[in-house]
């Protein structure tokens, strides 16, 4: 190991060196912003300095050619600096208003999509999926590509009542996180266990401990130490699968998509909220997942027509009530919408508040 190199534990790099000079100059000194057109923000500093930001959506999984093309555009039109948003959009900053339009033209000309600001449907945030995660029930990039193809006008324009954050997740761990609309895998059958492999591959006590409903117990199967699932208890969450791959949870037929709404990370007007289940049993249907997209579009349409200015999806539903929500988006309401997990009681209506 003589030639092994000791790592330099430098941690998180200092962004100062990579920050647009105008942002450095006015750090902490911004006064207000405007939204001159969809995809463009204008920030004005107390000093009077101005900076225009042009935001564009990409395919997120970038090949080096695309990355270099984004850099070319940055060098040619945007002073050589870029910023990435939380939702993997790229942002270019310019200090001269005259550069905004040529920058937009260059981006659109190269196939990127300018938008995603203010009251738009923002870029769908997504996870790894079949491309490179080890536990996914579906793809992520493909779902997002298919949906963004259909929501592109809502990304390009900013005429929703407020911003809409959509997320996807390809297992119930849900690293895509909370969203105004979330499209997540939901398994519907208990794991299928390959008993021949369990003893060699899995640390059995920690798999037993992982199950949220204590449905797993050690067992001898065919004379070998293995694990057993009480299928009446099992909630098909898939938590046992990452630590024990022989407990296969993904099922081509029975791993479905579910749609959740009303997750909102902002504190504006109300405390942050978690998303709620509205639709399930949606086919996991590559390569274009049309059934899931159709439901997302129905929800967006009802929200766009029904919500007031500044209402996020959760606030809109809070005002109109769940019965009307299900009616407007033409989704069935079932016993499965009634929560059974800890704290479920807090979600029951203990008042005489009924809308007619």
């Amino acid at each position: 190991m003589a030639d092994m190199r000791e790592p330099i534990e430098s941690g998180c790099p200092d962004p100062w060196q990579y920050m647009h000079p105008m942002m450095r100059k006015n750090f902490g000194q911004w006064k207000y912003h405007e939204h001159p057109r969809p995809g463009v923000l204008l920030h004005v500093a107390y000093s009077g300095d101005k900076i225009w930001t042009v935001k564009a959506g990409t395919q997120r999984i970038l090949d080096v050619f695309t990355l270099r093309k984004l850099c070319d555009i940055g060098d040619q039109f945007a002073e050589g600096y870029v910023h990435f948003t939380l939702r993997s959009n790229i942002e270019y900053m310019v200090t001269d208003e005259a550069k905004v339009q040529p920058l937009i033209d260059a981006l659109e000309g190269a196939g990127f999509v300018v938008g995603g600001t203010q009251n738009s449907v923002a870029m769908i945030s997504h996870t790894q999926g079949w491309l490179h995660c080890d536990i996914p029930g579906t793809d992520a990039s493909g779902v997002v590509k298919s949906m963004m193809d259909e929501l592109i006008d809502e990304f390009r324009n900013a005429n929703m009542p407020n911003r809409v954050h959509i997320t996807t997740s390809c297992c119930q761990i849900n690293c895509g996180g909370q969203g105004d609309i979330a499209i997540n895998i939901q398994h519907t059958k208990p794991p299928k266990i390959n008993h021949d492999l369990v003893a060699n591959v899995c640390e059995r006590p920690s798999v037993v401990a992982r199950c949220p409903v204590a449905a797993i117990r050690p067992a001898m199967v065919n004379g070998k130490p293995s694990l057993e699932v009480d299928e009446r208890k099992c909630i098909c969450c898939g938590a046992c699968y990452p630590p024990c791959p022989p407990m296969q949870i993904n099922d081509a037929e029975h791993s479905k998509l579910a749609i959740w709404v009303g997750g909102n990370h902002s504190n504006a007007r109300g405390k942050p909220t978690f998303q709620k289940l509205v639709a399930a049993g949606i086919p996991n249907n590559p390569p274009r997942w049309p059934e899931a997209t159709a439901i997302v579009k129905r929800i967006l349409k009802a929200y766009k027509e029904g919500a007031r200015d500044w209402e996020r999806v959760n606030e809109w539903i809070e005002r109109i009530g769940w019965p009307r929500f299900f009616e407007e988006v033409e989704l069935p309401f079932t016993k499965y919408h009634i929560d059974t997990w800890r704290g479920a009681r807090a979600s029951f209506n203990s008042s005489s508040y009924i809308r007619f």
Binding site: C12, F27, C71, Q76, G142, A209, G263
Partner: protein, 488 residues
């Protein structure tokens, strides 16, 4: 160059590099029969779309031209399902992967991405994933690599090892194009050429390389300032919003808070030894663009405690523009604590003691309303997603903390150390900090980290009478003492 011969070449555009540099690059890549062409201007990516005559193109630039037949022919997997993701207006990641397969001068990348596409198509056909984990790390570290070995590596041998490196981004995700190019150059030397800015935890994800090249790539980029993020039960890569760099709502130096925190724990990032993962996220205000409350164990949110600044002239401009009713319906009545009113002469009155700094009115009237001057942060602990007890938001543990002097930052880091130490000692295996708090109770957690209870930590006091209150008198006395000390 004649029309028919054009299709025998593919190009790699190198804006801004001089011809000597491009030739050197071509030579050191060992590109066989490479040509470097000085052309004049913007070139379509596909060679067959090039103009025959370059003379009317304005800007000089260099291209590496490689003869197609000099690259070993590969047998391309047929991908009818993935091909359907090349249609439609949104940029296609499949087209990008195919570009690497078809146009990259490096045969290793052509073959690797070809097999990657083959395996992905197989996933699409069978609706199953075919990656499994394993153990891969770089010398000296225990985490930061997501190992991926293919379960169908026999059919797709060139991508049978396809590990991802999680690399920590600069706080706030700022980059110069020069640095992005340098990273791209290193990555195509050692990896697949696929990269994401950024994963959901916030890392730059360099997707796809084998075990040997994982080390080479890390060594190369580590030399010029990049380090791995966390994976496994450890402190994870942190995130912060754009904040003070370009946002008028910002109430703190997000970048400094972010780097002070996570860079104090480099050892805990690189050598997983905690009960489970631990995430820091910093948002400059209550809009919480970073999703810190919902998605981090240690959330830092900017706020202020003096009066918000109101520019009444700008208030009147807004009202003149959109009308009085718009601002009554969209600002006054939307304040969560009814802290606002609008007088008959269109003066906005703020009851700052009722205001909870939710940011709504500032969002609607950014020219007129601004945070006060006495800025600081609120700290919430214990946010996380579903596994295992269900979703948890962070809980306020520090209602307000100044973050100005070096000592302020040091005490922030000390608080994080105290919390992580307490959790490392008391958390069960695979138990997030928030789950531990749920199990032992907030009061015990506060006691354990030496923070006194404060009504700001709750939505409301207890509802249940099932509690022993033997220590009430002492606790009440302690409260009055603390109040007296604080000069209240």
């Amino acid at each position: 160059m004649g029309a028919d011969s054009r299709s025998r070449y593919f190009s790699e555009c190198r804006w801004g590099l001089g011809i000597a540099m491009v030739m050197r690059l071509a030579a050191c890549r060992g590109i066989p029969q490479a040509y470097v062409v000085v052309s004049l201007g913007v070139m379509p990516r596909r060679v067959d779309a090039w103009p025959l005559d370059f003379t009317d193109i304005p800007i000089p630039s260099c291209f590496i031209l490689t003869r197609r037949d000099s690259v070993m022919a590969i047998e391309k997997h047929s991908t009818p399902m993935l091909d359907q993701l090349e249609t439609g207006p949104w940029p296609s990641f499949i087209s990008g992967i195919k570009r690497l397969r078809d146009e990259h001068p490096e045969p290793r990348i052509n073959e690797m991405t070809n097999d990657l596409l083959g395996q992905l198509e197989h996933s699409y056909e069978t609706r199953k994933g075919y990656w499994k984990g394993g153990t891969v790390s770089v010398f000296g570290y225990g985490g930061g690599i997501i190992p991926r070995f293919s379960e169908v590596g026999k059919a797709f041998p060139k991508s049978k090892e396809f590990h991802t490196l999680r690399v920590q981004p600069p706080a706030g995700n700022h980059y110069s194009t020069g640095m992005l190019r340098q990273l791209a150059d290193s990555w195509e030397k050692w990896g697949s050429g696929l990269v994401t800015f950024h994963g959901q935890t916030g890392n730059i994800m360099f997707i796809g390389t084998d075990t040997k090249n994982t080390q080479h790539f890390f060594d190369e980029i580590n030399e010029y300032g990049w380090d791995l993020g966390g994976a496994g039960p450890c402190v994870r890569t942190a995130m912060s919003c754009v904040g003070a760099a370009r946002c008028e709502m910002s109430c703190t130096n997000e970048l400094k808070a972010h780097r002070s925190l996570v860079n104090n724990f480099v050892d805990d990032v690189h050598r997983p030894a905690l009960p489970y993962k631990f995430k820091f996220k910093v948002s400059g205000c209550a809009n919480d663009c970073q999703n810190a409350i919902e998605r981090s164990d240690f959330a830092v949110l900017g706020t202020w405690r003096d009066d918000m600044k109101v520019d009444q002239a700008e208030v009147k401009h807004y009202i003149a523009d959109k009308g009085r009713q718009y601002y009554i319906d969209n600002v006054i009545t939307r304040c969560p604590t009814q802290a606002l009113s609008l007088t008959d002469d269109n003066t906005l009155v703020v009851n700052n003691r009722d205001c909870v700094r939710c940011m709504h009115c500032l969002n609607v009237m950014p020219k007129a309303l601004h945070p006060g001057d006495d800025k600081g942060v609120t700290i919430l602990i214990g946010g996380k997603r579903t596994l295992k007890i269900g979703d948890l938001m962070g809980t306020v543990v520090v209602p307000f903390k100044k973050l100005e002097t070096e000592e302020d930052y040091e005490s922030l880091v000390e608080l994080a150390e105290t919390i992580i130490d307490f959790w490392a000692e008391n958390g069960l295996e695979h138990e997030r900090c928030g789950e531990m708090i749920e199990r032992i109770g907030l009061a015990n957690f506060l006691d354990g980290i030496g923070i006194e209870p404060d009504p700001n930590m709750l939505s409301h006091p207890r509802q249940s009478s099932y509690i022993r209150l033997d220590g009430w008198d002492e606790a009440a006395e302690a409260w009055f003492e603390r109040q007296a000390e604080a000069g209240k």
